[in-house]
Symmetry: C2
Amino acid sequence: MYSYKDLQELVNKQINNENFVKEPRQLYEPIKYILSLGGKRIRPVFVLMACNLFSDDIDKAINAALALEIFHNFTLLHDDIMDNSSLRRNKPTVHTKWNSNVAILSGDAMSIIAYQFITKTNSNNFFEVLDVFNTTALQVCEGQQYDMNFEDKKPVSEANYLKMIELKTAVLIAASLKIGALIGGASHKDAQFLYLFGINLGLAFQIQDDFLDVYGDTKVFGKKIGNDIITNKKTYLLIKAVELAKSADYKELYNQFFTKNCPSEKKIKSVISIYNRLGIKKIAQNKIVEYFNLAFTYLDKVSVNSERKQELSSFIKTTLINRVK
Amino acid sequence: MYSYKDLQELVNKQINNENFVKEPRQLYEPIKYILSLGGKRIRPVFVLMACNLFSDDIDKAINAALALEIFHNFTLLHDDIMDNSSLRRNKPTVHTKWNSNVAILSGDAMSIIAYQFITKTNSNNFFEVLDVFNTTALQVCEGQQYDMNFEDKKPVSEANYLKMIELKTAVLIAASLKIGALIGGASHKDAQFLYLFGINLGLAFQIQDDFLDVYGDTKVFGKKIGNDIITNKKTYLLIKAVELAKSADYKELYNQFFTKNCPSEKKIKSVISIYNRLGIKKIAQNKIVEYFNLAFTYLDKVSVNSERKQELSSFIKTTLINRVK
């Protein structure tokens, strides 16, 4: 069995070996740039790990793995324009380094290149793989639209928030696992269990992201605390706080989030103290653990012996559950 | 054999019957909007006509036909943002009617929906169809990039201009014909002849567009004369004029196109009089006829009897060659 680290290295090697830069260079250079910014490569590694559950030959899943990573980076490129983000992994975003037109067109090219990679998948259930890819790709756009809809000043319900992060984040993680499983020769049932494992994992990951923005250890994660608060992002923490807050706290939250021009440091302090008063830390931790446990009930159902699942589950335990304690 | 008009109606009916508007509506409404603006539906009709050359059953090509039309409209949506165009077919462009973020994301969704339609193509040479689609889609992005590169102030060579319009316009027309032919059961040789027919036709169409902007009959085409001149667009006419102009004319052209702030009406008049002095009208007409004739040498080679080619060739004669006389 391959470890997460092995597979991450394999993915990075494949990305480095691909000749993404052709003519016209203005179109292709941003593609090489964003793909070289790194990241955890969760989606392509999950494709390969899911394949590896059912098969020792993971080479047959490498093109699909790259397709998922390229598609994910395409969405980052366009999301960064829409969200007006100037930094991605501490480097300038493509529309900042070049301009918006470059980011639009290079993103378009990346989505097509993702399709070229998925098309190279040599598998007798290719149509099923392609269907999962198509459906998921469209859902990710829907998720981004819901996220943009949240930018107006109205509060958002927990159900709508969970639906948004399921579409924007969880389905692509779930699809990575399902596609890898299908290429590895899994039964439909097992592929679907891995999909549901991925959905719940994706939800846990996203709520963890929200959690770490407030309760993360800056020394460990290298990110400043409170960025989501400054940018008025609708997070799981905020949504629960708005739901639970009464009178003075509600008014204060509403003023901080739904009116503008609050000074940053004061705002972070004020919001976090409301979260603390309302016990939001524990509520978020419980929700992450709930999704984490639910995810594992699906992994348990996958009909391969638990030794083969070892790498996948230990990676998740390390990156997920240990970080929110 | 189906006529152009029959097939255009069929395409419009299919587009109207598709339920493009789902939730979230903000994502899907612009898709319905741009697809309902109409147009000649050249690409989907060419898919069906090319299929019809080899088969009486054109239903099997309808999903591919829609895929090509949806993909084409996706590129229009994003091109309009990049080119800062406020009107498309005399209606507000999507980024004008909504905003740029909507146009980016709805465009992304359209490109995926195009893939969903091409995936529904039930054909034993599906992989070949998908390969043609992938390759062409990426080439269209390359063409748009070259076109954007032309926006700076340097003059452009004829060869580079022709390469740009081949990528931006001709390959998608060629791919429509090739994909239709493949689905209809054409041999590789015939499919490739139709591809080359399409390339030369696409080049002729684009140069015709350039030509009609200056020498078109406003009463017939409903478009104002000289829009390309006002917007400093690099056209075949301009490129030939820059190539042929000497001393005073060259200086005048250079000043008009490569410096800014020239009053519109004066500029149009001045540029057209240079075109007239240099005989650009005849040069452009000859080039259109040259590509038109070259296109037909490839159609002639396609091994079906000439009766079956009748609809395709008469449509092209009407829309192309008769308009530039």
